[in-house]
């Protein structure tokens, strides 16, 4: 629960805070990412994760996936503020469209010998991680899953010699036949 800010410090309302995944379709023009990131920082919204790449090369259209948190009214306001930006075509709140498919990819490097090394291999195989690089003392694994699964994988790997993590952030898509273009 988070207290919602108003102009007046004693006029607070308590509303539940939820995690929402937004898919934002934008013109891939210079500065568009700065516009969106700046909107979040300027208005005091959270970004938990942000992923962006051009998805339609001929039309120069990118899809940005942002995971944010807020009360219902803040999420509504974020959506309206994003839609106000000129290069933004559409904003879809995937959390509201039903259970969207969400995946994140992480690369982890573990360094160790003996039992740690064996345990790291076991865990990797249990999580379905791929081995991308191996030396006599280290592994680099690639693991894909929900944010929770990635978190769990990283937490376990910490115990067996994790030295480095790189994560993509969430990519997401609504279930069913309907597409967002």
């Amino acid at each position: 629960m988070l207290q919602m800010k108003t102009h007046y410090p004693d006029a607070t309302r308590v509303e539940p805070v939820n995690r929402h995944t937004l898919a934002i379709v934008v013109d891939n023009e210079p500065g568009v990412l700065a516009r969106i990131a700046g909107l979040f920082s300027g208005r005091g919204y959270n970004i938990e994760s942000l992923t962006v790449t051009e998805t339609q090369h001929e039309a120069h259209i990118s899809r940005i996936t942002i995971v944010t948190t807020g009360t219902h009214s803040i999420i509504q306001q974020i959506k309206s503020q994003l839609e106000r930006l000129v290069p933004v075509h559409r904003v879809v709140d995937l959390t509201l469209t039903g259970e969207a498919v969400e995946r994140e990819l992480c690369l982890v490097k573990v360094v160790g010998k003996g039992d740690h090394r064996v345990e790291a291999m076991r865990l990797a195989s249990a999580f379905g991680a791929r081995t991308l690089d191996a030396t006599l003392t280290s592994f680099v694994y690639e693991m894909t899953g929900t944010t929770d699964e990635v978190e769990r994988f990283i937490k376990l790997m910490t115990a067996v010699g994790l030295v480095e993590v790189s994560r993509t952030g969430v990519a997401a898509m609504a279930r069913g036949a309907e597409g967002i273009m």
């Binding site: 108003t6 007046y8 410090p9 013109d27 516009r35 306001q77 106000r84």
Partner: protein
């Protein structure tokens, strides 16, 4: 049919094709090619300001007085950064502007070149949209698109940053068949189901009130005409924000005056007690709402706004209508006329009786004096002596601005130009320059304070250069009055740095610029001197020496609600110490 020309020539041609008559600007290294292209033509008239901030405010004044977009042309680096305050002002008040900034040549961008700054980076948050044009092929489209974006949807400033090498480069120019943006399509027609629900709610209202804002003015004169029609059809009372003054005639009986922090008793109490609030083109600004959790506690709310992000931003509404005011008002008027059931006349009459009771409180009354000029009296006399000429009035920011809003009365839209959202001291003089250019034969008055006026004073020189007979009417109380008033309210009357020391002799100053200076400190002479000012066909600075201690009332103190206003006679009646009115939490607010 396309023609070959340079980027600089394209800029001028695009302005011509957009029907631009005036450009406010200041030359510099990175815009020299554009200034050269200006030199070869006469359709677009350049107005040389004395500071880039002045250029933007002048363009704002021009835009608001004419209903057309304002155009600004400045150089890179300091030219662009000086324009920022004006752009932020236009952003907050939704004024359509196109600001063309020069930039260092593309191959020098990012090298910390002379007069380089990241203009699109710096202006990203204070413009509606901005462009850095890196290829001559994009230029014609971007120029026209900038005008489309500035004017459509919620209006705002658009920056086009143009590197010098692109200005020199030759390319093909053709006026786009439609200068729409390829995807930006704001909603203008309101949702009919919501409009129907709104009309239904209005028809069943017992204590309704219209609360209208700058959106009605921005939507064009047609919107004001439709608003008048709807208000008169319904018989409901109407109040307006600072930005919305003039959309509904102040001389009409249904008009309650401005609402908000310095609004009238009747307007604020009507907002507090109403059961149906019809917000048209206003955004529940904190100057309007006062304490949010006590704002209009009994009302169902209808909110018409072209910007979906204005809806439910701070105040929850029951019936949101996203659309342009004129379009929605047209539908509302039509549906109201068709609707069989009208508001209950008996209950509406009761509501009016209540309002008349509040009105009888005469909240704008003040104690006049024979010795010193009361600032309220000065504005009242200025209004009475100029109202027949339908003057265009601009203001700076502070007490004088609120007195102007309270005591000057506007019957037509686009006659009132003030910095509402951003609260920019220095706005009024350049805005008057812009307004006078839009209406060369009209009477244009900048109601100013002696502190604010010094922030953009250099634009007197612009007024002289272009023979613009603007009248700068300074309410001189030798204080930053609003700061002083707040120091009285919040800080025990310790006037830290709010006294206007070492003031210039404004009469001599006017003369030094080549204008006319008039001073008045005697209430008995005020009328004659105001007439003298009006009758001079040259720029005038009128130094009106007013009461130094007068405060601006009514006032909703910070952290208080609409029904907790302070009135003018508050101190006299109760003897309460003004410093104890605001509680500790209220002191944190602005």
């Amino acid at each position: 049919m396309s023609e070959t020309m340079t980027g600089a020539e394209m800029v001028i041609r695009a302005l011509q094709d957009q029907g631009v008559e005036h450009v406010f600007g200041y030359p510099g290294g990175a815009v020299l090619p554009i200034y050269d292209a200006l030199f070869h033509q006469e359709k677009v008239r350049h107005v040389l300001v004395r500071h880039e901030q002045g250029a933007v405010h002048a363009a704002e004044g021009y835009a608001r007085a004419s209903g057309k977009p304002g155009v600004v042309l400045v150089t890179s680096g300091p030219g662009a950064t000086n324009a920022i305050t004006g752009l932020a002002d236009a952003m907050m008040d939704s004024i359509p502007l196109v600001c063309i900034t020069g930039q260092v040549p593309t191959h020098l961008i990012g090298s910390d070149a002379f007069q380089e700054c990241d203009t699109v980076g710096i202006t990203r948050h204070c413009t509606k949209h901005n462009y850095l044009v890196k290829s001559i092929e994009d230029l014609p489209r971007v120029l026209h698109e900038a005008f489309y974006v500035a004017q459509n949807g919620r209006p705002g400033p658009v920056v086009v940053d143009l590197p010098k090498d692109i200005q020199f480069k030759a390319g093909q120019y053709a006026r786009p068949l439609s200068n729409q943006h390829k995807t930006y399509r704001p909603t203008v027609k309101g949702d009919m189901d919501h409009i129907r629900a709104a009309i239904e709610l209005m028809a069943n209202a017992k204590r309704p009130v219209f609360y209208t804002g700058g959106g009605v003015i921005n939507s064009g004169t047609q919107a004001s005409a439709l608003l008048r029609e709807l208000v008169q059809l319904t018989g409901f009372p109407i109040t307006s924000t600072l930005m919305g003054l003039g959309a509904y005639p102040a001389s009409d009986r249904q008009w309650l005056g401005m609402l908000g922090m310095h609004g009238t008793y009747e307007a604020n109490l009507a907002m507090h007690e109403c059961d149906v609030m019809i917000n048209i083109g206003a955004r529940f600004d904190d100057r309007i709402t006062g304490r949010l959790d006590a704002f209009s506690p009994f009302s169902k709310r209808i909110h018409v706004d072209i910007d979906p992000s204005s809806i439910n931003k701070t105040v929850k509404v029951d019936i949101p209508i996203v659309g342009d005011c004129a379009h929605v008002l047209e539908d509302m008027v039509r549906l109201w006329r068709q609707g069989a059931k009208q508001a209950d006349k008996g209950e509406l009459q009761e509501w009016w009786n209540k309002i008349e009771g509040w009105r009888a409180r005469n909240c704008l009354a003040y104690k006049n004096s024979k010795e010193t000029i009361k600032p309220q009296y000065a504005v009242q006399r200025l209004y009475e002596l100029t109202k027949d000429r339908a003057p265009y009035v601009t203001t700076e920011v502070g007490q004088h601005q609120m007195w102007a809003a309270q005591y000057f009365r506007f019957d037509e839209p686009n006659h009132w130009m003030t910095s509402g959202g951003h609260g920019t001291m220095g706005y009024g003089l350049p805005a008057a320059v812009g307004a006078q250019l839009a209406h060369p034969d009209a009477l244009v008055i900048d109601i100013a304070g002696e502190a604010s006026i010094q922030m953009m004073l250099q634009e007197m020189s612009t007024a002289l250069q272009y023979n613009l007979p603007i009248k700068v009417f300074i309410l001189n109380n030798e204080y930053m009055g609003m700061v002083r008033q707040w120091q009285e309210l919040l800080h025990g009357g310790r006037y830290s740095q709010s006294y206007s020391e070492s003031l210039p002799d404004f009469v001599k100053l006017a003369e030094a610029y080549g204008g006319v200076g008039i001073r008045c400190d005697n209430p008995a002479e005020l009328d004659a001197k105001i007439m003298e000012m009006i009758n001079v066909n040259r720029p005038v600075i009128f130094d009106c020496i007013v009461d130094k201690t007068e405060n601006c009332f009514p006032m909703i103190p910070s952290g208080k609600a609409h029904n907790e206003m302070l009135l003018n006679d508050y101190l006299g009646e109760t003897g309460t110490d003004i410093g104890s009115v605001i509680d500790e939490k209220g002191k944190m607010l602005v």
